[in-house]
Structure formats: structure tokens, C-alpha cells
């Protein structure tokens, strides 16, 4: 295997989770999910990719609301969300730390999360930093709820969580570790995660690193497409291509 960056490993892992998607949408300021979606499309050209902030990958003509209308109609299969805190019930916090009225740290805000988390069938959570600061027992503010009562109309919700250290699945109200990223251990992941999660079925499993095909796509066409939207990110997130 060729050495790859952590961002490339995460993007590849996220892209593989899109194998059964027909339409994946990516929010604004989300370079890692954009990379994953564009990688998935190079391997599956039938995948429709919508990226907010892109000129090339945005086919909406009804203004800012169209993404949300599409989601409520079931026209989007997959979306990505992150948080400044994520807890064991997959609640995400994009608002702030401490008391809501007088936060010790204020973050931008919930954006579309409170809505999309309930409506998009497969939401993939992602967070490169995997520490107890991020993965807490309980978030300080629930921007979007991981679990809702059974009478809530909820065709969507969290299905996976990809971090710099691991891939988790989310089902029946809890996370289960599917596998550590290469070079990381279950014991280390337990130490760095502030909530309980289910043990992997196969204790020896590891997330497979990018194949040569995936890596070539990432460092070739995907990097160029990402640069259209996120020039600064594209300049630093990708490793050197094999031929140089």
C-alpha cells in the first residue's frame, strides 16, 4: 500500500459508504465530504452529487431552500454532518459550549442539521479530531437529535461515523465500532471516546486503506474538482501522486 494522508483515508472510507446512494448532497464548507462524494462518483458515474458552494456540482434553480425541499421529498439519499461535540446518542452540537445564554465558546450555528438529520435516509457523521473533547457523554446543546420518539416522522438519521481513528456504525440508539483506522487500536479508541460504544464483531478488523485505483482518483481528478470549490484545502489535504 502507498502511504496516504489521514484526510485521504477518511475520504476513501466515507466514499465507500456511498456505494448504494443515488444522490448525495454536501453542505457548505465541507471539503472532506466533498472529496468523498467526488471520489465515489469517479468510481460510480451514475451517482448524482450536489455540493453547496460549487458552481459545477450544483444544479438547483430555486434558491437556498431547494436542497431542503428536495430532502423532505426523499430526493436526497445521503448527507454528511459534523459537530463541535457528538455524544453517544449521536446528538450533534454546532452551537456552543457551556450555558446557551452565555456560552464559554460560541460556534457558528446549527445550519440545516436540525432538519436534514431527520429527513435524509443516510447521514454520515464525520470528525477528523477524535478526542474526549469532541466525543462527549452528553452534548451541551442538541443542534440535531440522534434519536427521536417513535411517533416522529423520521425517514432519516445517523448511520455511520468516520473519524481520524475509526469507523463506527449507528443503529438502535448506539454506536458500534466497525473497525479502527490503520495504525489505531480498540483500546486507544476507547480511551479517546467519552461515551460507551459496542465492540467490533471482529476485534482484529481494520479499515482497509485506499486501493491504488482510489488513491490515483483522489490525487488526480478528485483533487482538481475539489480545488474548484476549496483551493486552500486541495493544496494541503492530498498526498503526492505516485508518479512524482
Amino acid at each position: 500500500m502507498s502511504a496516504c494522508t489521514e484526510a485521504e483515508l477518511m475520504a476513501t472510507t466515507m466514499a465507500r459508504l456511498l456505494a448504494d446512494s443515488r444522490h448525495v448532497a454536501v453542505g457548505a464548507l465541507s471539503p472532506l465530504p466533498a472529496t468523498a462524494a467526488l471520489l465515489a462518483r469517479t468510481l460510480n458515474p451514475a451517482l448524482r452529487v450536489t455540493i453547496l458552494g460549487s458552481r459545477k456540482h450544483l444544479a438547483f434553480t430555486d434558491g437556498g431552500r431547494e436542497l431542503f425541499d428536495c430532502a423532505a421529498q426523499g430526493r436526497i439519499d445521503t448527507f454528511f454532518l459534523s459537530g463541535v461535540q457528538i455524544d453517544g446518542q449521536a446528538n450533534i452540537n454546532l452551537v456552543g459550549m457551556g450555558d446557551y445564554e452565555r456560552p464559554t465558546r460560541r460556534f457558528p450555528g446549527s445550519f440545516g442539521s436540525a432538519y436534514l438529520y431527520l429527513l435524509v435516509p443516510k447521514v454520515i457523521l464525520f470528525k477528523q479530531e477524535h478526542t474526549p473533547r469532541i466525543f462527549v457523554p452528553k452534548v451541551d446543546f442538541i443542534s440535531a437529535a440522534g434519536v427521536t420518539p417513535p411517533n416522529v416522522h423520521r425517514p432519516g438519521g445517523p448511520r455511520h461515523l468516520v473519524t481520524g481513528r475509526a469507523l463506527f456504525d449507528f443503529a438502535d440508539g448506539r454506536f458500534t465500532l466497525r473497525a479502527p483506522m490503520p495504525g489505531h487500536t480498540v483500546e486507544e479508541i476507547r480511551r479517546e471516546t467519552g461515551f460507551e460504544f459496542g465492540a467490533p464483531i471482529d476485534e482484529a478488523a481494520a479499515v482497509p486503506p485506499p486501493t491504488a485505483t482510489e488513491l490515483a482518483a483522489l490525487r488526480g481528478p478528485v483533487r482538481s474538482e475539489v480545488a474548484e470549490i476549496y483551493p486552500r484545502y486541495a493544496a494541503k489535504a492530498f498526498g503526492q501522486s505516485a508518479r512524482t
Binding site: 434558491g63 437556498g64 457558528p108 450555528g109 445550519f111
Partner: protein, 270 residues
């Protein structure tokens, strides 16, 4: 009748202290020249509504002490990170944030453009937003059974303030696919618009342009202000215009402190 005025400063004359103003996100058509005029005039107590999120414009207005409250789904400086004056003001307890979520901002304006009191919206249930938004209600869907659904009250701004590519001499304003500007204009009592250029043809007579045009019916005032979105990038014109990256980066750095912000503003207003 739409009034044509000579400058961005004159454009914002009708905006009094305490006005409720809808503003677009950084990727749409932000009226930065008009914003600079508001800061220079020293307007106070603005109640801003971000459609649905905001960036530089709102951070500048907050830093300059012009804002009483902001209803928004989020505020940041895009690739330049957190909005420093906003973050600081909230952490000091000096700014009232009315936290929302993108589709709720759109839905509230849609209710206003329909002249109805509220709009129902899926999602949101389980979020703490419902706890901090007592004006959002949950009812049982009257057409269903045991189906809770959120109601978002209409948002009726006093003004919509934005920048667009072109207007004609009748007061029609072309916005292309940036249709949140259309919704804002429909929902607001008055719309104040800066444009790159004013054309001599009637935009509504060209079917290719008419569908993306706000009729003058909704447009109160227009000022021709080429580059009126600078330093933000602008994709709503005939050709995309890049942002002033050096200036944006400088703002993001400088505005992390009060002194740095004041220094930046002295230059920017000069």
C-alpha cells in the same frame, strides 16, 4: 414606483434605528457598499434576519455596534473561519442571537410572502432549538394521526437589502437562480437593492431573463453600485467576480481583537 438613487449611502436612508432587515448569505448577493454606508452613518439597534446564514456583512455590523439581534442558522467567514466579532459579542452576552435552522428561515419568509401566519416544517423535533425558540410551536398534523410537526411563524422584515447583477429602468431586478433574493423581496415590506449595472431594455420583455427577475412591484429603491459586494466574491452577474482574498484574510485576522477590528474599519471606511 421604484426610486433610483445615486449612491449606496442614499439607498439606505430609509433604514432607521431598530429596523428589521433581511440579508442574504455570502454566496448570494451581499450589499457590502450599502453596509459600509450603514456603519458610517452609525445606525443602531438593527434586528437582522440572515437568509438563512450570514458572514462578513453581519460580523462587520455587529463589530461596529449596529446590531441588537440576529436571527440566523449560522454565522462564519467561510473558508476564513469563525466570525470573530459575532463570536466575541455572544460570549460577552452583548448580542441576542435567535438561533434557527436554514429551512426554517426560508419557511418563515415563505409564510410572509403568502400572507399567512406560519408554515409547517418537517424535521427539527428533538433539537434544543425548540427549547430556545418558544415562538416555534409543535402541533399534531391535523391530516394525520399522532404526527407532531413544527410550525414556523412568518418572518416579515421591514427591509430586504441585497446586491444583484442588473436592473432595468422600470425598476425590475434580475437575480437569476439566486431565488432566495426573490423570496426576501416578496416577504419584506420594502426592498433596497444595489446593482452592478442598469440596462436600457425591459428585463420582463425577455423571456429568458423574466423568470429570474424580481418585478419592480417589490422593489423600493435601486442604486447603481458596481462592485457593491466587494470584498466578497459575486457570482450573480454576467461574469463571476472573485473576492478580495487579501482583504478577507486581513479582516479574519484583524477582527479577532476589538482594536484590530477598529483599525481595519478605519481603513475600510476611509
Amino acid at each position: 414606483m421604484t426610486t433610483f438613487v445615486s449612491s449606496a449611502s442614499t439607498l439606505v436612508d430609509p433604514i432607521a434605528d431598530g429596523a428589521r432587515i433581511a440579508v442574504p448569505p455570502d454566496y448570494s448577493g451581499v450589499a457590502m457598499a450599502a453596509t459600509r454606508a450603514l456603519v458610517a452613518r452609525g445606525v443602531r439597534g438593527l434586528r437582522l434576519v440572515a437568509v438563512p446564514q450570514a458572514g462578513l456583512q453581519v460580523d462587520v455590523l455587529i463589530g461596529a455596534g449596529c446590531v441588537a439581534s440576529i436571527e440566523t442558522a449560522g454565522i462564519n467567514l467561510g473558508e476564513y473561519g469563525l466570525a470573530p466579532r459575532y463570536t466575541d459579542a455572544v460570549q460577552r452576552g452583548e448580542l441576542r442571537v435567535i438561533d434557527g435552522t436554514c429551512p426554517a428561515l426560508h419557511a418563515g419568509l415563505q409564510a410572509a410572502e403568502k400572507g399567512i401566519p406560519f408554515m409547517p416544517l418537517r424535521g427539527i423535533l428533538g433539537s434544543d432549538l425548540l427549547r430556545v425558540r418558544p415562538d416555534w410551536r409543535v402541533i399534531d398534523n391535523p391530516y394525520g394521526t399522532d404526527d407532531p410537526i413544527v410550525l414556523i411563524p412568518a418572518i416579515r422584515p421591514d427591509f430586504a437589502l441585497f446586491h444583484s447583477g442588473m436592473a432595468d429602468r422600470e425598476g425590475n431586478v434580475w437575480i437569476g437562480v439566486r431565488r432566495e433574493l426573490m423570496t426576501m423581496a416578496h416577504a419584506a415590506a420594502r426592498s433596497l437593492v444595489t446593482v452592478e449595472t442598469i440596462v436600457d431594455t425591459n428585463l420582463l420583455e425577455d423571456p429568458a431573463l423574466a423568470a429570474g427577475t424580481i418585478p419592480s412591484l417589490y422593489v423600493d429603491r435601486i442604486a447603481e453600485a458596481p462592485g457593491g459586494m466587494r470584498p466578497l466574491p459575486f457570482t450573480g452577474g454576467s461574469v463571476p467576480v472573485a473576492g478580495d482574498e487579501a482583504l478577507l484574510a486581513r479582516y479574519a485576522r484583524a477582527a479577532t481583537t476589538r482594536e484590530g477590528f477598529d483599525e481595519f474599519m478605519k481603513d475600510w471606511l476611509a
